[in-house]
């Protein structure tokens, strides 16, 4: 019995297979998301500019953004199958799309572009206050819409999702730690002559994310759209639950941009936390002494760069400590391989930070939804007390730390304690910084 045959295959459940093969999947979710998305954009660009009362702001930043890491953990990139931008791309390609292949530049540097967009959006959020400004959030969504329209008109498949979506890098990295994987059965794929999973079958498009089942070995790009389930004539596709983070230690070709992004996300989690703390003003004053200016943009940019450089520098330094002095090339290799081990802590940090917003501002979603019907509700926005939230945050960080430490152990091929000590210490340090930040009072989004 082969290894793949031993794993649980959710598609063996007739109702799941039938549903994924039907047009209802993912259409049902996509159209619902599209409807909600339209309402959100309308409210953001035309509704009140008070973020506390804007339906779009609360739906986007209090509900969606905290839920997204949870979705990646449990369902991989299922969100990308539902995403209104993905559906919009599908519609436009049918109506006005080109079959021109994705340009070489995007193929080669796409992930770096995603990294740059993600950093740029986070930076601009702090400079122009996009999250707290309904108009700003609305324009950001419209800008993304334009990028989707342009790439869908000009290039084949979901070029935007694969190479430009700012969420794509985050989604890819988090989905590697996810608990669900879609794969082909190697024994069946090896004998396949049609390759319909990649080419499509005339009725259903081939994989929109340019994946080929025979060589696919990561969940980073699979958005679980179900096209391969619909087109595969040999029933080779398997949908399997797995141990969280297990993909991280099985990566055959680790890439610098992924490790870089993993470290950057940790830096961004620090920035998100620090700028919402009451000590932020003091930090800004300290930076102003060095920079010689009180300009917020300048001082924030310095803090932003330092926060991102901290985990990158620490990861590089750890790689240096662990490398054998006779092998200088080993440092970069260590940076790239062990960079993936930060992902569980990234996920935990992101989740813990947003847990604060979801649980202390969660009722805003309800109040503002009711507000759409003309009913005005006022009161506390909290769903849980700050103490409960704090303990939950610590718990999430501890789980992330366990995931990261175990990933180090497995990536290091179950190496000795002494060999892997610098990485363990690095992960503990990141967890302590996160926990310390969660002990400090934080301000709200809405």
């Amino acid at each position: 019995m082969s290894a793949s045959a031993k794993k649980i295959n959710l598609l063996n459940q007739p109702w799941i297979r039938r549903f994924m093969k039907s047009r209802m999947y993912p259409g049902l979710f996509q159209w619902s998301a599209m409807f909600l998305f339209s309402m959100i954009v309308y409210q953001l660009v035309a509704g009140t500019v008070n973020p506390s009362h804007n339906f779009g702001t609360s739906m986007t930043w209090v509900l969606w953004w905290p839920l997204i890491p949870v979705a990646f953990l449990f369902l991989g990139r299922f969100w990308c199958a539902v995403c209104p931008f993905g559906k919009l791309s599908d519609i436009i390609r049918k109506l006005a799309g080109s079959e021109r292949p994705m340009p070489q530049f995007l193929k080669r540097y796409g992930i770096w572009l995603i990294d740059i967009f993600f950093i740029a959006i986070t930076w601009s959020d702090h400079i122009w206050g996009i999250v707290e400004s309904p108009r700003g959030s609305g324009y950001l969504l419209l800008l993304l819409t334009t990028m989707v329209v342009a790439t869908s008109v000009l290039y084949e498949r979901r070029t935007f999702c694969k190479t430009l979506c700012f969420l794509g890098g985050l989604a890819g990295n988090y989905s590697r730690a996810g608990m669900l994987e879609l794969r082909g059965t190697p024994e069946i794929c090896r004998t396949c002559k049609t390759q319909s999973c990649y080419k499509g079958d005339g009725q259903t498009e081939g994989c929109p994310m340019f994946l080929y089942m025979r060589t696919m070995d990561s969940s980073a790009d699979c958005n679980l759209c179900g096209n391969c389930v619909k087109t595969c004539l040999n029933q080779s596709i398997r949908l399997t639950p797995r141990i969280p983070a297990s993909e991280l230690w099985g990566i055959t070709k680790p890439r610098t941009e992924h490790a870089f992004l993993a470290a950057v996300i940790m830096g961004i989690v620090f920035v998100q936390n620090i700028t919402m703390l009451e000590i932020w003003e003091d930090i800004l004053r300290q930076i102003a002494v060095f920079s010689g200016t009180s300009h917020y943009g300048v001082n924030f940019t310095i803090a932003f760069l330092l926060s991102m450089l901290l985990p990158i520098g620490l990861l590089w330094f750890t790689g240096m400590l662990a490398a054998n002095r006779s092998e200088p090339g080993r440092i970069k290799d260590n940076f790239v391989r062990f960079g993936y081990a930060i992902i569980p802590l990234d996920l935990a940090g992101h989740l813990a930070h947003n847990l604060f917003h979801a649980l202390t501002e969660g009722k805003a979603v309800w109040y503002n939804s009711i507000g759409l019907l003309g009913e005005r509700m006022e009161g506390s926005l909290a769903l849980a007390s700050p103490v409960v939230v704090q303990y939950l945050q610590y718990g999430v960080i501890v789980l992330g730390l366990i995931g990261s430490i175990y990933s180090v152990y497995r990536i290091g091929q179950r190496g000795s304690w002494k060999q892997l000590l610098p990485y363990y210490a690095f992960m503990v340090l990141l967890a302590i910084i996160n926990m310390y930040l969660f002990t400090l009072p934080m301000s709200h989004r809405v």
Partner: protein, 106 residues
């Protein structure tokens, strides 16, 4: 001979499509601009210049606190977005239609 004539036609079509893209952009954004200037004020859900107090929640960079002044829909921005998107769509439809007519696309 046949190839060069097809290539010429394609080149012409490409030029025409870009002209359509630019023209639509100018027309739609021009309309949005004119609309903005003509009306001056816009009918929106939000009441212009109405101050709404927002709870003070720290003084972080992420949140500056203070009063929020309601502002109307910025038709200029929305118009520009609509124009650019419409331009891309028109360009795409035109090119797809052309490709279908020449039998390059099923």
């Amino acid at each position: 001979m046949l190839n060069s004539s097809i290539a010429k036609r394609m080149m012409g079509m490409r030029r025409a499509s870009w002209m359509i893209v630019i023209a639509s952009f100018l027309i739609v954004s021009g309309t949005a601009w004119a609309d903005e200037n003509k009306h001056g004020e816009h009918t929106t859900k939000a009441t212009s210049s109405q101050s709404v107090p927002v709870k003070e929640v720290g003084t972080g960079g992420h949140r500056h606190g203070g009063d929020v002044e309601e502002s109307p829909v910025n038709t200029k921005v929305i118009g520009a977005f609509a124009a650019v998107n419409a331009a891309f769509l028109i360009y795409g439809v035109f090119r797809k239609y052309g490709a279908k007519r020449e039998g390059r696309l099923s």
